[in-house]
Symmetry: C2
Subunit: 717 residues, 2 copies
């Protein structure tokens, strides 16, 4: 049974290596292009090195602290085997196992982010060069460059979970091992949070800083080489969108694997079949193959919208995912004919991954009502633009909530029809697996975004015009769309994964307390206050994240101004600005700003759990459960607002730039008008929302789930 | 025992009559002032008439529908008396009693809003006239004008609840009557929601419309008589801030009374003392007296900040409220020495009402860091102003959550020390009562806002300068502060009242199900989805409310433009614009826009409850409980963001206008700069947040509580 996940993981790694070789041997264009590419690479690596050093120190401290706390203060872990015999794992052992799993999860997450981003930066210049020759080659380079990160992430998550599961006795004690490996998920979310926050702060601060000091103050165009912040801006696209979202989805897949395995224990104990526990790993293996074929099948015809090519590839992956799901379900879980119900649940998940893409498109593309509404509101100035964008953003919670709600209720109902104990929950787990099967493909599309964005920037800076430029610009526009869609996908999968992990939390508390923990007394004030703190947490976290962008942008603006002032040759174009210094200052400032919002979601659940544990007459596990559930809901809804409002503001501006907005006489209102200026305000406001706070909130939601899962022994009297 | 509430209510009515007489006999200034005052009065009355007609029709339809549903589909109400004997009230009887209570609550709410606003509008012109003679007289007129509405609201709420409690058998079956009068609270929140929404949409649409077409497009000053929308703007202050907030707090007091009485039943059944049920009414009676003395004690010294005078009066009320609380607790609830604990809980509530005022001041006044941060961010344009304001707004949820959380946990703990069944909950109820004791005073301060705002407008339009103008402007600034503080107060009291009503919901479901309902299975998907829908509801509601303001403002802008175009004499000052038409168009458009956001929070709980009732294997009361709790939390937190961000944006703009923001050379950056223009954008964005969506969210939270309470029979299988 372990063959499929291991084979899947190894195939994914080999495929990533093949893609790396394919990309690296492609031509790197002119000297000027190579030069710019090298500067971006250098900047990105400098940032990552610095970031990973910070995260590494924080991770080691956290691993030791968590291990010590769980080992010394937590209780023993008692689980029953098939024969009903109680197997005890001492608290001490749980402690060190958790700490090691944490470090492994953190390491895998960091590694996949690092390698993926390295290749993505190497792909930029090759994509730019390919754009000179035609669309298909450029799309292929960008997508394959993105796929490296996608496949490595999923492979490392799968191999990591499989390895630690067996290392912690999965072969002999399959009902116990999932509880011992939860640290892996916590480690992954820990790194994901800081990677997403640090990258998100960096990218948007560089973007805002470059725009404010370049376009607004000095009147020079975007990506102009005289602007010292322009390289920082290009670097930012890689560290934010690519490394950040990669860590985010690494975490989703790891958390989903572990959560689903824990849920499978109930069915295992009932049926005696270990297949129920290993099933998630097998499904993930099939998902890798499905995504691989999808990626290889993408062919862009010259002249067509590259989005259509990506969509065709995605549907190939989806079709194969359906086949893989059917294979896995009917060979592994069909002993008593439950296969059909579970397969249907898996289909619900796969369909969800498509529906959310259409919902996101509706809210963020210029073809539909919401973006048009914002563009129209820009005619009366920035205030009405902002108000319209807020209204649209709030409205988008409807689509997100309906997609998640219907998917959960339906898959639960389908799972419950199997009649197995915990069958309903297993149904939601299968749906989540189904949704995440195409994760490597979606990640490839996501990283497609920063690669094409950078390629367009390199072409601009290298002074190349004509067809290459038009090709690059068209791909850049598609990249913006794919980035928005991935956020919708990541958000919904975070919601589903969090629901899984919530079940896992209840299961784990039941085991630790030695009695079933499945109800929470809503009438207790600590439960109400736990929920109140949860929503407060997501708001305050967003506040810190947004403010961090503003503070960091201030530092870059100061630096670019200083360079202009002290070296008048820069503006004349005779002297090159000091890009490296601007990159370095942004990195330092951004990483400092990442600490406070990063610590908050780790500290709050610990404080709530420990404080209520020690106040008599309050029940800490219940308060933490409320924190977890209400925080998940609040986080997802606020992320939906942030991501979609930001995307809609962005596209309302683009709609005006593309001359698609008309005045009363039917004449286009284009760039340079007051309407366009108003739309630029909305775009700038949306940037930290959609690229810093919003994506960080997905990670926060999953971090809340994994941290409470790992630290639950501390909350129990 | 019923003497105190009845006496309190009658005293409050007599006091209001005395104030009305005192105000009406004061002088009404020059002919021009009277003329303007009359136009405002006419516009306000025309709006209210139209609004109440719409609300009246909706209320009658709702009353019939609710009565019929509860009477025909709901179950019988079975409650045990002191001897343990079961008393059954038929579903049919519950149905018609609920419908009548609903209509009475709706009527009282509408009446108190109407009379209060009528007097407030009458006070405007008298306050303007008094401002010509000095500060103290003007403050006295404005505060007394506001107090009319404050006292009438609390009196009608108290007399209404007392009357219907006895009418529904409170003397003979005190343990049953509170359950029969819940319709009163629902009726009150029903009217409050539409009053707040309609008024809020009207006021901000008129404000935005008048500014955009007057200040921005035509370059004429604020409150300029040539602007056809200027009267609509002045009318808006009355119908939004005065009638809207009045209905909001009417609802808080009514809901708190009923919720606390239901909670008192447990202690009544245990001790046999009906005092536990009547206690909330008695405390409210003492609160009225405390507030009355406070109002009468306000004396503003010439030259001092009027805020200080109001603060002194408020502290007099608080001191007397403490005495009243002590009297009530130690005479009524001290048989077995529990008085000290409950008194302490009451003190927690009274202190909470003071603390939230300081917290709100910190977030919204120019003296402190948050507003300064926004003002500074305006230097780099509107985008950074908006981002800074959002960051501040999100941050303010911290203060709100801590105040509500500490107050609940502390008062619960104190109540639990009495050792009575449900003692903890009763402790939170006593705290809520303590907080709401000073409600009439707070309401008077709130209505002080629109009165002084209107007085300043009348003085401007009547062309009066000199000392009168300076006095009016200073009072106007204080009025802005008191409006912001009242919102903080209303928000926290909504949170506490909602927690009470949540208990009441659990109690009522227990009675209807015939078994204790105190836990909710968080692991059930319908519970998670109920919570998800709840947060989605508050976001979508805010979206609709904000959008309604934009749509309505568009109609006014069209109308003013039309008048300017068709009648060039208006701009020259030779012809008067048609104010009435602008008022009428705003009213029509605003009321049409109020329907959709108003229906939403009524429809959603009904749909959730009824749909889950009819799907097998799902548990509707649990899903509704999650909807209620998570919706309350989400609503309060989002309201905190909206109210405080709006207030902070407003004051950041004022800080710049007062020349308090300095550039790098230390020179003030004042009106007319780009920085000021950026701050104006923030102020405009904040307007619909703080005066439409935010305050409507408080009402929504309480409406969710009362509607689920009333309709709970429909959700039970």
């Amino acid at each position: 049974m372990w063959i499929v996940p291991v084979a899947g993981g190894v195939i994914a790694v080999l495929f990533a290596l093949y893609l790396i070789r394919d990309i690296l041997r492609r031509d790197t264009g002119t000297d000027r292009m190579r030069e710019i590419g090298d500067i971006i690479l250098e900047g990105a690596m400098a940032f990552l090195k610095r970031q990973y050093r910070t995260i590494g120190i924080l991770a080691i401290v956290t691993a030791v602290a968590v291990g010590a706390l769980v080992g010394l203060v937590g209780g023993d872990l008692k689980a029953k085997d098939l024969a009903g015999k109680e197997i005890v794992t001492s608290a001490f052992q749980v402690g060190w196992m958790t700490a090691i799993a944490f470090l492994l999860g953190a390491f895998c997450s960091a590694l996949s982010g690092f390698v993926g981003m390295y290749i993505s930066v190497k792909s930029n210049v090759r994509c730019a060069s390919a754009a000179r020759r035609g669309l298909n080659e450029a799309v292929t380079v960008a997508l394959r460059g993105g796929a490296v990160s996608g496949f490595l992430i999923v492979a490392l998550s799968l191999l990591g979970v499989t390895a630690i599961y067996y290392a912690y006795g999965g072969a002999g004690k399959p009902f116990l091992a999932p509880h011992l490996i939860v640290g892996f998920g916590f480690g992954a979310s820990f790194v994901a949070l800081f990677a997403q926050l640090g990258g998100g702060i960096y990218t948007k601060a560089a973007d805002m800083g470059a725009d404010l000091v370049g376009k607004v103050e000095s009147g020079i165009p975007e990506d102009d080489p005289r602007n010292a912040a322009v390289i920082a801006d290009l670097v930012g696209d890689n560290v934010g969108d690519c490394a950040g979202r990669g860590a985010d989805l690494f975490e989703s897949t790891a958390a989903e694997n572990i959560g689903a395995m824990i849920l499978g224990i109930a069915a295992y104990l009932f049926t005696g079949e270990v297949a129920w526990i290993l099933f998630p790993l097998v499904v993930r293996g099939f998902g890798i193959v499905a995504s691989m074929v999808g990626i290889l099948s993408v062919r862009a015809k010259e002249g067509e919208n590259p989005m259509n090519a990506l969509n065709r590839g995605y549907f190939v992956s989806v079709a194969l995912a359906l086949v893989g799901m059917a294979l896995a379900v009917f060979t592994m879980l069909n002993k008593d004919g439950q296969g059909a119900w579970l397969f249907a649940a898996g289909v619900v998940g796969i369909v969800t991954s498509i529906v959310i893409i259409y919902v996101t498109q509706y809210y963020t593309e210029a073809r539909y009502r919401p973006v048009k509404e914002i563009a129209n509101a820009s005619k009366t100035g920035p205030a009405t633009n902002i108000v319209a964008g807020m209204a649209v953003g709030f409205e988008t919670t409807f689509g997100t909530a309906v997609v998640i709600g219907v998917s959960l209720l339906l898959s639960y109902w389908l799972g419950a029809q199997t009649g197995l104990p915990g069958g309903g929950f297993f149904g939601t787990a299968v749906a989540t697996m189904g949704m995440l099967m195409t994760c490597p493909f979606v990640l490839a599309m996501d990283t497609f975004g920063p690669i094409t964005d950078n390629a367009a920037g390199i072409i601009e800076m290298a002074g190349i015009g004509g067809d290459a430029r038009r090709t690059a610009d068209r791909m850049d526009a598609v990249g913006n769309t794919t980035k928005a869609l991935t956020k919708g996908y990541a958000m919904v999968s975070a919601g589903l994964a969090a629901f899984l992990l919530f079940q896992a939390y209840m299961d784990r508390v039941s085991i630790l307390q030695g009695k079933v923990f499945d109800t929470v007394n809503f009438a207790r004030p600590e439960v109400f206050v736990g929920g109140l703190i949860a929503v407060m947490l997501v708001f305050v976290f967003s506040s810190l994240a947004i403010r961090a962008v503003g503070n960091t942008a201030g530092k870059i603006i100061e630096e670019v101004r200083r360079q202009f002032r002290e070296n008048p040759g820069i503006m004349l174009g005779t002297v090159k600005p000091d890009y490296a210094r601007a990159v370095d200052i942004t990195a330092r400032a951004g990483l400092r700003q990442m600490i406070a919002p990063g610590i908050l979601p780790i500290a709050v659940p610990v404080i709530v759990g420990v404080v209520f544990r020690f106040i008599p007459s309050y029940d800490a596990p219940q308060a933490v459960a409320a924190l977890l559930m209400v925080g998940t809901i609040g986080g997802i809804m606020l992320a939906s607002f942030m991501n979609n409002a930001g995307g809609a503001w962005d596209n309302a501006k683009k709609m005006i730039e593309d001359n698609q907005l008309k005045d009363e006489q039917g004449k286009p209102i284009g760039k340079g008008t007051l309407t366009h200026a108003a739309a630029v305000v909305g775009d700038t406001v949306g940037d930290p929302c959609k690229d810093t706070a919003g994506p960080s909130l997905h990670v926060l939601v999953k971090l809340l789930a994994t941290i409470t899962l790992v630290l639950s022994p501390l909350f129990i009297k």
